[in-house]
């Protein structure tokens, strides 16, 4: 069937050919990094590896890992492999300070990224006849830029709505006949709810598919969204470190995401030992970018826990499939699509209180929206006999948290010794969302 694949040759490539392609690209990429990224070269030297040791994908395990800490240490230019004059774009993770990641793109990198997204849009049934409404946030966040670029590449009529102003989103769907919606799953669910609140039904809009990512979501959420908007909902996966959304995408089978492994080699490792695990094992996902020029990460530890599978897919694609992330091997939380580390919250508390009070992060999902609460045990220093002073403190905390994380948290001050401790240690995070 014409138009089923964006790049049929790659997407249905025999495994042996794919390994060959990956090997060629890996060898070249390792040399590129060795020559241009002293930070990684040093890591290789420390491990006693040189580009001469890498002959193909079978040698990948010899290379050292990169972690988010490496990205922080080398911020902003330490992992850059091309002169800035060759770079045309910067994108960044959602956090405005703290553990931010800044990624650079050459024109080829942007083209590759958009090509990956084009595959995802095509797999969701998109062609140049479609009207794609991009309701991901635009800006440094890769969601808006990624889907926007991919939609252009396919030749779809692209509506750069960004997120928010939900009634206008629905108005545009009605007036301009949007057929594919791209946003976070929680926003899609919210749009669905709003549609019904406005007295409309899926028959009043022309949407047929949705491509949703950037945060964890469940099968229950998928069926809810599909019903409320009258669409088929596809998952998309990616991270700023490797490019953005489109590293992996779902096909009509909706049973895991095909990884664009001509660009990204995926491995599953034991997060504790770093040992590579056989196919089908649950472990931490590691990516090696083999085509990126400006910001080529080798063996980047995503901290996402999932399973890879090469089981034959009914869609005809031979690209390896990953399950939805089943959790994290670090303490990162994804709340409302934003990456949150408890240590970022600690930074704010230390700044505002000059000490670390006992605190607890409580995340839940009411309907389809994440709730985010921070309970803080009040101390003598923070106490005042006037409500005004305590409210001022709460407001300052709330503003500082929003400044750091980009999302709002409900601040609840509680009495001392009321936050449960296990074996004397406070339980920092309670995630009540049942996401897997």
């Amino acid at each position: 069937m014409a138009g089923k694949y964006w790049n049929e040759q790659i997407e249905t490539m025999e495994l042996s050919d794919m390994k060959k392609l990956q090997s060629e690209r890996l060898v070249k990429q390792v040399k590129h990094v060795w020559d241009n990224v002293p930070y990684y070269r040093k890591k290789m030297e420390e491990k006693g590896v040189t580009p001469d040791d890498i002959h193909g994908v079978e040698d990948l395990y010899k290379l050292p890992f990169l972690s988010k800490a490496d990205l922080r240490d080398s911020y902003p230019y330490g992992l850059l492999a091309e002169p800035l004059s060759e770079c045309v774009r910067i994108q960044s993770t959602s956090g405005t300070t703290g553990k931010r990641v800044v990624a650079f793109y050459t024109q080829n990198d942007v083209d590759m990224w958009e090509d990956c997204v084009a595959r995802a849009i095509t797999a969701a049934g998109g062609t140049k006849e479609d009207v794609v409404q991009v309701a991901y946030g635009y800006g440094l966040f890769t969601g808006g830029a990624g889907l926007h670029g991919g939609s252009h590449k396919v030749g779809c009529l692209t509506l750069p709505m960004s997120s928010g102003n939900t009634e206008r989103q629905i108005q545009f769907m009605q007036d301009l006949g949007s057929t594919i919606l791209c946003c976070t799953p929680s926003y899609a669910a919210y749009i669905g709810e709003t549609l019904h609140e406005m007295g409309l039904t899926p028959d009043d809009i022309k949407l047929k598919a949705g491509i949703f990512g950037a945060e964890p979501w469940t099968e229950e959420m998928r069926s809810e969204i599909e019903k409320s908007l009258g669409i088929k909902a596809y998952d998309i996966y990616g991270l700023t470190e490797t490019s953005g959304p489109g590293v992996a995408f779902e096909c009509e089978e909706q049973s895991g995401m095909h990884i664009n492994e001509d660009n990204f080699i995926a491995e599953i490792i034991d997060p504790d030992t770093g040992e590579v695990l056989p196919e089908g094992s649950k472990g931490e996902l590691v990516f090696t970018s083999i085509t990126k020029e400006a910001f080529p990460l080798l063996r980047y530890r995503t901290r996402d826990i999932c399973v890879l599978s090469r089981k034959k897919c009914s869609c005809g694609r031979t690209l390896v499939k990953m399950t939805k992330p089943m959790g994290r091997s670090d303490d990162m939380l994804i709340i409302k699509g934003v990456n949150v580390f408890p240590s970022q919250i600690e930074t704010v508390l230390i700044k505002d209180f000059k000490a670390t009070p006992n605190y607890q992060i409580i995340v839940d999902r009411i309907g389809t929206t994440d709730t985010f609460e921070i309970k803080i045990e009040l101390s003598d220093d923070m106490f005042s006999d006037t409500i005004k002073d305590i409210s001022t403190l709460e407001k300052k905390l709330s503003a500082d948290i929003q400044q750091i994380l980009g999302i709002k948290a409900k601040i609840t001050l509680v009495e001392p010794k009321t936050i449960p401790r296990s074996e004397g240690k406070a339980v920092r995070v309670i995630d009540k969302r049942k996401l897997v």
């Binding site: 101390s379 003598d380 006999d385 305590i390 409210s391 609840t412 001050l413 009495e415 001392p416």
Partner: protein, 144 residues
Amino acid sequence: MTVKQLSVFVENRPGRLCAVTEALAESGINIRAVSIADTKDFGIMRIIVNDTDKAVEVLKEKSFIASAANVIAVIADDKPGSMASIMKTLYNDNISVEYMYAAFLNTQKGEACLILRVDNNEAAEVALKEAGCRLLTEEDIAQI
């Protein structure tokens, strides 16, 4: 001439007021006046007791957040207009009231007591005394 007031942070959940007052009761502390300022999640209990320092100590031992602050306790005659005149006195001297509540009423003497938290205790004392108001002392409170 101020009196000490006990302030306690209480979460807005069942049993907290009970816990505070029981802790005071166990230590033989008598409550002379009480008010609660409430928000959605928490409240601040403000209490006039016969021994504030002991009350703070007792509550802290039980992991409450408690502190003492100086407030003005002024006697108002139990008749129309007496509170208005106190307010006018403070207003005329540009003294701002953060919060206030009424305490024990001595019906026999025809007197009420207002507890005032103001932005400037010294100025309020001077103004109220000049206006002929009677202010209570720590000793007065302890002896009631």
